[in-house]
């Protein structure tokens, strides 16, 4: 069994994790930078397209960089149980920075389990990872600025993007666009995206009603500002904004509010020695992630004055977090799309009507196995929250499915929680 000890362990090699590693290593701290993905960059720099300033940090073979590595459990304070393709190992740290990023909010609608239906950012991720979409007809739907970024990636890869359907209305979109004047970098990005996407129809107050097909997606039924339209397509990417990945933070006992980690001015969580940076503290995009990662890296490596000097810059990012959440909040129709027989839990094939017989997440888990498959509620948890109003969504260790040989290495029982 391998063991390793570092000053600072950083979970997540996206923008926040890379910025943290850069700041901490410049001060001489020993760092382990690990990521579940085989390549660094997170979602924004997916496929190894890491910003040049950080490229050296994420070189395959660097002693501190551990790609393809997931955190399985947090057996005791200062220790992580990790698993990669070659097996399990323990990592000991003095400080931990969690830069676990975000996932998409994926909500059920009839036909959402058909092959060919993906997340919107999910489809973008597949394309950035080399999926061939040349000449394929694509519809993107859901909400948020990510839809436009996904459309640009799909078009650049040769797809025929038939339509981008944004569920929010023009009034909120206008408010959001007006707010971009405060953030020149984001405004420039928006203008560039607008240019790349010229000719691609963009509809507000519009959403997917159902995906249809035999064995595979063939058609999508849409509401376009009150008018129903059916489109033939090969791929449908639907994502309702982003959700912070907080499973590790929750396992470590860090306080979460509205699904995001609560941090102080140095990015420290409610637990001493544990920091959170980037989307895990609230969805705000690349610039916020880079700044927070840098603050966390500085603070964790003892550069307190330098960290404090950056804290003031966070304010405008936090304003953006609130604007993003407000302008792209969900219209009530989205939570009404799933029908009685629509599967909500994709791992265990549990339909909405079966879940509706129960009053809580815990009860539904015990009776239907909802949330107990390989994803451990990462997808259906958010769906149950949105559709059924359940708020007690929680996970137990292991944080990721693991091999039995890995679990056998855990010195303590993985859960001290009493079984029901």
């Amino acid at each position: 069994m391998r063991e390793r000890s570092v000053d600072i362990a950083i979970v997540g090699a996206g923008p926040a994790g890379l910025a943290a590693a850069d700041a901490a290593m410049a001060h001489g701290a020993s760092v382990a930078l690990l990521d579940d993905n085989p390549l660094a960059g997170g979602q924004v720099w997916r496929g190894g397209r890491v910003a040049p300033a950080f490229a050296a940090l994420a070189q395959t073979g660097s002693a501190h960089y551990l790609p393809g590595t997931r955190v399985v459990a947090t057996p005791v304070a200062g220790q992580l149980l990790l698993e990669d393709a070659s097996g399990a190992h323990h990592l000991y740290y003095r400080k931990l920075i969690v830069a676990s990023g975000a996932r998409e909010r994926l909500l059920p609608f009839p036909g959402w389990t058909l092959p060919g239906v993906t997340g919107a950012g999910g489809l973008q991720a597949l394309v950035k990872n080399g999926m061939d979409v040349r000449g394929q007809r694509v519809v993107l739907a859901g909400t948020g600025p990510l839809l436009l970024a996904a459309a640009a990636s799909l078009r650049a890869a040769g797809a025929d993007v038939l339509l981008v359907a944004e569920q929010t209305d023009w009034a909120r979109l206008a408010r959001f666009a007006k707010g971009l004047w405060r953030q020149p970098a984001k405004l420039a990005q928006a203008i560039a995206l607008g240019w790349e996407l010229r000719g691609t129809p963009y509809r507000a107050a519009s959403y997917v009603v159902a995906a249809q097909g035999t064995g595979r997606l063939q058609q999508v039924r849409m509401q376009l500002a009150g008018r129903e339209v059916v489109l033939d397509c090969d791929w449908l990417g639907v994502g309702y904004g982003l959700l912070p990945n907080t499973e590790l933070l929750a396992a470590l006992g860090c306080t979460l509010v509205n699904g995001a980690a609560v941090v102080d001015r140095t990015q420290q969580t409610s637990q001493p020695h544990i920091y959170a940076a980037g989307e895990a503290t609230g969805i705000g995009g690349l610039d916020k992630a880079l700044l927070e990662g840098r603050i966390a890296g500085l603070a964790a490596s003892g550069q307190h004055a330098a960290a404090a000097a950056l804290a003031a810059q966070r304010a405008r990012h936090l304003h953006f977090v609130a604007e993003l959440a407000h302008c792209f909040s969900l219209r009530p129709e989205i939570a009404q799309l799933a029908q009685a027989d629509t599967l909500v839990c994709r791992c265990e094939d549990v339909s909405l009507s079966r879940l509706q017989q129960y009053g809580s997440w815990r009860e539904a888990k015990l009776q239907t196995r909802c949330g107990m498959g390989p994803c451990q509620g990462r997808i259906c948890g958010a769906a149950c929250q949105t559709l059924l109003g359940w708020s007690d969504i929680g996970q137990r260790p292991p944080i990721q499915p693991a091999r039995l040989a890995t679990l056998a290495l855990s010195p303590a029982p993985l859960s001290t929680e009493a079984l029901p």
């Binding site: 579940d36 994926l106 993906t118 489809l123 390989p374």
Partner: protein, 77 residues
Amino acid sequence: MKVTIWINGQRREVPSGTTLAAALAGLPGRRSVGGEPRAAFCGMGVCHECRVSVDGRAQQRACQLLVQEGMEVDCDA
């Protein structure tokens, strides 16, 4: 540069640097516990819908693996 992988015993050339999920896009995949066809969904390691057997190791997320020369993939495992 291309690498050769084997998908359900069929030889296939795919660009190196591609994730396995990207290489499998559009091909028939696994069945859910209720027998429905499924394929990659979240694209980023969260939903586990793209899991396949790789070189005899079951339940691997195809979206978190890069294609490797000689990789043997069983999509229905």
